[in-house]
Symmetry: C6
C-alpha cells in the first residue's frame, strides 16, 4: 500500500474528523483492494439506514482515537 | 464540507451530548451527502427499535470522546 | 430539549449506572421525539433477546464514560 | 431498584470479571424488569452463537471499565 | 466457577492477545455453562464470516484492556 | 501458535494501522485455524457491505489500542 498515513496530528477537530473517516474507509480498502468492487457496494450501503449507522459507529471509534491523539485540540 | 466543527469544548454536559449527536449525524452526511436520500431514510430508522439502539450506541461512543475532551465538566 | 443533563457526577456507582441508562434512552428520544412512537417500540425490544443485548452494550459504553467521570468512585 | 452496586473495587481480576457480567445482566433487568419475561428469553440466546458473541462484547466493555477502576489489579 | 483469572499481567503482547481470547470465550462459558451446548455452536460460527468478525471485535475490546493493563509492554 | 506478536511499537502510524489489521485477522485465525475454511469465507465478506463495515469496526478498535501504545506517534 502507498504511504497514506504519516501522522495523526491535525490542526482542527474537523480535519481530525475527516481523518477518522479516511481511516474508516482505508480498512475497507485493505480488505477489498478492488476499487471496482468497492464502487459496486456504494449503492448498497449509502441508502441503507443500518449500514449508514454502522459506518458512523466506525467513524466514532476512529474519531475517539484521533481526538485523544490531538489532546482534544485544547 | 463547510466548517462545522471548530472545537470539542462545551460549557455543559448537555451541550456535549448534543455535540455527540451532531458528530453521529455528520458521519452519515459525509457518507450520504444527499439530504433527499437521508430524509427518505428517516421513516426507516425512527420507528425501528434495532436502528434506534444502534444510533444510541454511536452517540454513546461520541459522547465518551466529548466528555473526555471536557474533563467530564468537573 | 429541556435541561436534563447538568453534571456527570453521581454519589454512588449505582446512581452512575442509572445515569448511564438515562443517557442511553435520551439518544433515542433525540432521534425519535414522539413518546407515542417510542412507546409503540417497547413491546418490540423488551421481549427481544438481541435488542436487549444491544441495549446493554449502549449502557456499558455510557457507564464507562460515567465511571471515568467519577474516578470510579474510589 | 434495590441497592445492588456500591463499589467497582474487587480483590481479584476474576471477581472483577464476574462484576462485569453482573453489570451486563443488570442493564437487561432495568430494561425488562419482569423476571418471567427474561427467563423466557434464556433458551433464545443461550443456544444462539450470534447472541452469545454479542453478550461477550457487552461483558468485554464492562470488564474494560472494571479493570480500569481497579488499576488492572497491579 | 473455578479460579481461572488471577492476573492481567503477561510477559509478551502475544500472551496478552491469547489472554484476551480466553476472556472472550469465558463470557460465553458464564452465559452458556454447558460444554455440550457450546460445542454444538462451534460449526455454526466457525464457518460464518459475520460471526467470526463479531468474535474478533470482542477480542479487540478485551485486548485493548489487557494492553492497557500491561502498559503496552513498553 | 507460532510467535507472531512481539511488540506493539511501530515506527509510523501506517505501520500501526497495518498491525491493527493483522491483530484483527489473527482473532479469526485463532477461532478458525483452517486456512482453507478462512479462504472459503473471503468471497462471502469481501463483497458484503455490512461485513466490510464490521471489519473496519474491528480495525478501528485495534488501531485505537496500537495508537495509544505508541503515544500517537507524537
Amino acid at each position: 500500500m502507498d504511504t497514506w498515513l504519516t501522522s495523526l496530528q491535525t490542526s482542527t477537530p474537523q480535519e481530525g474528523y475527516e481523518l477518522a473517516i479516511k481511516l474508516s474507509r482505508m480498512a475497507v480498502k485493505y480488505t477489498q483492494p478492488s476499487a471496482e468492487a468497492r464502487d459496486k457496494l456504494r449503492p448498497v450501503y449509502e441508502d441503507d439506514a443500518d449500514a449508514l449507522i454502522a459506518v458512523s459507529q466506525v467513524v466514532a471509534t476512529n474519531f475517539q482515537t484521533i481526538a485523544a491523539a490531538n489532546d482534544y485540540w485544547k
